[in-house]
């Protein structure tokens, strides 16, 4: 890419030309960041993860504003009140928003786009859902408001993670 440049002889005849690598060792100091954490999931989220293992999606209801929070939280951030009740959801819902993503983490363009979005659950008000992938659907078929359902990993492969759901697919009649 760069044009080859001719340098003359070194100005200091006793010296020698420095290689780029040698130069870098005194112009930059490199280090890795050894940061490791183990976050407590907490009262509500631990039960959420446990129920994912069982193939169930669970929320918490705020008695004051009647929202069902998914993933569940022990307090409602709008009312600043403790949530009061566990709510098992059928897992079905609608696409609230989505994006067809053509760029990977390393900023490379990818051929098969990744379909990501937010699912609003049946049995919970809008804007109380979760983010996830979509599958078994062509990108051009994805629509806001489209009914979807979860596709679970086989029981023996579930570990108590949001990835226990493989993706959401268009709901079959």
């Amino acid at each position: 890419m760069s044009k080859k440049t001719e340098f003359g002889p070194p100005l200091n005849p006793r010296g020698r030309r420095l290689e780029a690598k040698e130069l870098e060792s005194i112009t930059h100091v490199r280090a890795k960041v050894p940061a490791k954490y183990a976050w407590a999931a907490g009262t509500a989220m631990s039960r959420f993860l446990e129920e994912l293992k069982n193939g169930k999606i669970i929320g918490r209801r705020c008695a004051r504003c009647d929202r069902v929070l998914v993933p569940p939280r022990m307090f409602c951030e709008r009312c600043f009140q403790p949530t009061t009740e566990w709510v098992y959801l059928p897992g079905t819902g609608v696409v609230e928003t989505f994006s067809i993503s053509y760029i990977d983490t390393n900023a490379n363009r990818i051929k098969e786009p990744i379909l990501v979005g937010v699912i609003a659950f049946d049995g919970a008000p809008p804007h109380c859902g979760i983010m996830h992938y979509f599958g078994e659907v062509k990108p051009e078929e994805l629509k806001i408001g489209m009914p979807v359902e979860p596709v679970w990993k086989p029981k023996e492969e579930r570990v108590g993670s949001v990835l226990d759901i493989k993706y959401f697919r268009p709901r079959r009649k």
Partner: protein
């Protein structure tokens, strides 16, 4: 200019581990208590929320964005101070002083048990070009800096190792009277010495163990607070902070950061003779010698005198200077950025007469001092008082 009062405080107990709650639930628990005490609804009454946090302690970036929910601050003015709780308190104090805000909440917490590589994160706070390679090369625990500082302090003041060890004995014992403190113990000098050198001349049990916990303060403009409650109020009379140059090799022996912070706070509060005017004292003691160094920096003793005060029994509930009756960091645990608010909490409880078995009779003026901890030199000082 309007004055600033403490309308409510709330805290969780301090413990070495908190696996049963996540950090949001921990903060929520302390916030609920503070708001109940203040008699306010955060969704309606609070004008601004200040959180004290640092991304590396928390483990994710832009932690500022995660602060609203657990404080009741969603869709309200929130901000994060990357510093100790007393620095957050200073921010809230100034916000009220401007007249733009009437009621401001300050939150500081530690969930440090969730950081698995604490030593490495402390090491990351060293200058990356010169200082860090020296720690990394031989994998020396970064707390060796405390050994350097202590050695310099002992040399400069003539303070003895025994006098420093006494601080650990006192504070662990005083923590037995504080229901929030996890590290209360009856230890003797012999046991402190027996714990062995960690970084000479510093001994292992002169180092505070870390702890999780959360403290929330509700501050209000004086005229608002007086309208909201009939109870006697504790006022913030002065607050100051300062930072030394971060060069470890340029560090002073006398905790200059604390001296400058104290001068700033004392000037505002009209304190000219701290030893006579201040009834209760909470100073930072993550390493036992720091308590003595900080007492001198805050003007409670001349250089080299604090150790003798410790030895003569002058520090403590029965002594002349009521120091670290909460147990300090040695007794309550190193609460990271929440350490300063823990000190402020103790002063508020003492001035209200709510400090239980460790109550100082008729305490009217108190001082809380924080130090952000190794490897740096940032300190803050707040003076509180009752006026009734």
């Amino acid at each position: 200019m309007r004055d600033v009062a403490v309308l409510g405080v709330g805290a969780t107990a301090f413990t070495s581990q908190t696996p049963e709650v996540n950090w949001k639930e921990l903060i929520y628990d302390a916030a609920v208590k503070a708001y109940a005490e203040a008699g306010i609804d955060p969704r309606r009454d609070v004008d601004s929320f200040v959180t004290c946090a640092e991304d590396y302690w928390e483990g994710f970036s832009i932690f500022d964005e995660f602060t609203p929910d657990q404080l009741g601050g969603a869709l309200r003015p929130t901000m994060t101070v990357c510093g100790d709780g007393l620095q957050g308190l200073a921010t809230a104090y100034m916000q009220i002083k401007t007249g733009m805000f009437n009621i401001v909440v300050v939150e500081a917490h530690s969930k440090i048990s969730e950081l698995l590589t604490y030593e490495h994160i402390v090491e990351l706070a060293f200058d990356p070009i010169y200082e860090r390679p020296l720690s990394a090369e031989r994998e020396v625990h970064p707390y060796y800096v405390a050994g350097l500082e202590m050695n310099l302090y002992l040399h400069a003041t003539g303070t003895t190792e025994e006098q420093c060890a006494l601080v650990a004995v006192h504070n662990r014992r005083q923590a037995l009277n504080n229901p929030l403190a996890p590290y209360g113990a009856r230890l003797g000098l012999q046991e402190i010495f027996h714990s062995g050198y960690a970084f000479t001349p510093l001994k292992k049990w002169e180092i505070a163990s870390r702890a999780d916990g959360c403290i929330v303060f509700v501050l209000a403009a004086g005229e608002i607070a007086r309208r909201l409650t009939k109870k006697p109020l504790v006022y913030v009379e002065g607050i100051g902070w300062s930072s030394e140059s971060p060069w470890i090799s340029a560090r002073s022996a006398d905790a200059s950061y604390a001296r400058h912070a104290a001068q700033m706070a004392y000037r505002q509060a009209g304190i000219t003779n701290p030893r006579r005017q201040i009834d209760v004292i909470e100073v930072e003691d993550r390493f036992a010698f720091k308590e003595l160094q900080h007492l001198e920096a805050l003007g409670f003793a001349r250089p080299g005198e604090a150790g003798w005060l410790a030895q003569s029994g002058a520090l403590g509930l029965d002594g002349e200077l009521k120091v670290n009756l909460s147990g300090g960091s040695l007794g309550c645990g190193d609460l990271i950025e929440a350490s300063g608010l823990q000190r402020a909490l103790e002063i508020v409880l003492q001035l209200r007469g709510e400090a239980g078995a460790r109550q100082v009779p008729n305490a009217r003026v108190g001082v809380a001092q924080s130090w952000r901890g190794l490897p740096h030199g940032t300190g803050a000082v707040a003076v509180f008082a009752r006026r009734d």
